[in-house]
Symmetry: none
Subunit: 252 residues, 2 copies
DNA sequence: ACGATACATGCAGAAACGTGCAAGAACGCG
DNA sequence: CGCGTTCTTGCACGTTTCTGCATGTATCGT
């Protein structure tokens, strides 16, 4: 049993039965109570649950299943998402990419935010159903299984018909020389099309992406407004990017 | 064993069992754990999986809402969905509506079914990500919060561009006189547009819908091929509908 | 107040990790 | 065909991380 898997299991159980008894779950998973306690302590530190004597309770009833859905979102991504969500102005139009970071950003938006969100990710669209005042425009097209977003000619065409104030893009790799890259050519084209329809474009990249490069170039540095990352300002790649005139927003 | 082959095997395993344990897969494939780790590192860099201590977990949002997939579908709906899924021929094109019954149908499709699915429901689209051989076309447009499907002019227009062999529609009410109805005018229009693009149209209605009517008419009886329901053949509404020449498929 | 249970902390063995390195295969080129 | 280059792969090493146990402390129920 993987540690991360155990963590997910705990959150899942928390969402489903509303509580966790350390002793029981230890017996159920065949691990020591100490490990359970350790996990619960960490989850509580991240605000995903409320630690109580004997086990844990959901952080708050409202976020019970919210937490479970965030379970696979690592810490860095969540911080990046929080900063990215802060960039969105009420009343503005936002283009939101697919991918886990963009999804986390959607969930990090204030629940009653009044704005228009344009996305090619059905997952993001579904997540935004819970934001009653947000108008969601879904760009149709062929669904790419790999990343669960629409891509291809039809999707790019649909993107041409919209325009926005702000575009938040996720990428697979951020490298000083290679620039912003992703693993699929269609995806790269779609991201380019999205960025082209927005006045400003920020790239979201948690630290594990920093310094890596994938096969397909999305955009050169000149065409983005800024980078949101949780990698420290001292990180060599961050410094290199900054020296190229890219605004770097710290999600520390 | 080729490197690319190994990579595929890892992704396949990830999709199938939801996790990878580096040690196990190394033993299974007869290669060193180092190679497995290297592969996982690269896959993670491309965003294809999430690296965790001891192995890897899926990064795909599709598998992330595993919990949602486990949510309970009432028995009647499930039976209706099973019968509806049986109507889909391999190699054909299918239009699938939104709503819980349609979603259950999507999940009831054989996992390796080779077909094209056209839908205006992002939820259905996401559910179908797990069907590797199904091509999913998502109809874009404005998202209706209430039912989480795209509706409106843009969505209807997108629907005009497709055509299919079979259309499976959910409705809110099935009544002998009022016909097939739903609670929103835009939704009704969208459903009409979908049915118009398909050679055959079946309506899915679990028994609690039978005999009720909502405000907006979707289609008259003449324009549908059949009705799939779990209400018994002796049910007065079912008998009335049958007498109007509608084929009724029993999901008992 | 007291026993029982849960807890945090420190510790040690074990497992997993990243890196450097060298042997070997695949490849391109002369 | 031979040679050098590049890429891959497995091994060795030192490092980090995890996990269960032991200890002493805090909290709960009675």
């Amino acid at each position: 049993m993987l540690a991360a898997e155990r963590r997910d299991h705990l959150l899942d159980m928390l969402a489903r039965q509303g509580k966790i008894v350390a002793k029981d779950v230890a017996a159920e998973l065949g691990i020591s109570e100490d490990s359970v306690r350790r996990d619960l302590r960490e989850l509580a530190a991240e605000g995903l649950c409320q630690r109580v004597y004997g086990g844990a309770l959901p952080a708050s009833p409202a976020v019970a299943d919210y937490a479970a859905r965030q379970s696979v979102t690592p810490d860095g991504k969540r911080r990046v998402a929080a900063v990215a969500a802060g960039l969105v102005r009420p009343g503005s139009a936002l283009i939101l990419d697919g991918g886990t970071t963009a999804l986390a950003t959607a969930r990090a938006l204030p629940p009653d935010l009044d704005c228009t969100v344009i996305t090619h990710s059905p997952t993001v669209a579904v997540a935004l159903v819970e934001h009653p005042r947000a108008e969601v425009i879904l760009l149709g097209g062929r669904l790419f299984k790999h990343s669960a977003v629409t891509c291809g000619a039809a999707a790019v065409e649909a993107a041409q018909a919209v325009s926005a104030d702000l575009c938040l893009l996720g990428v697979a790799g951020v490298h000083p020389d290679a620039g912003l890259t992703t693993g699929d050519a269609e995806e790269a084209a779609m991201k380019r099309a999205l960025a082209a329809r927005s006045a400003e474009t920020y790239v979201l990249a948690s630290s594990e992406k920093i310094g890596t490069a994938s096969r397909f170039r999305v955009l050169p540095w000149e065409e983005i407004t800024g980078l949101v990352t949780d990698a420290g300002p001292g990180h060599p790649v961050v410094r290199a990017v900054t020296s190229r005139g890219v605004q770097v927003l710290q999600a520390g």
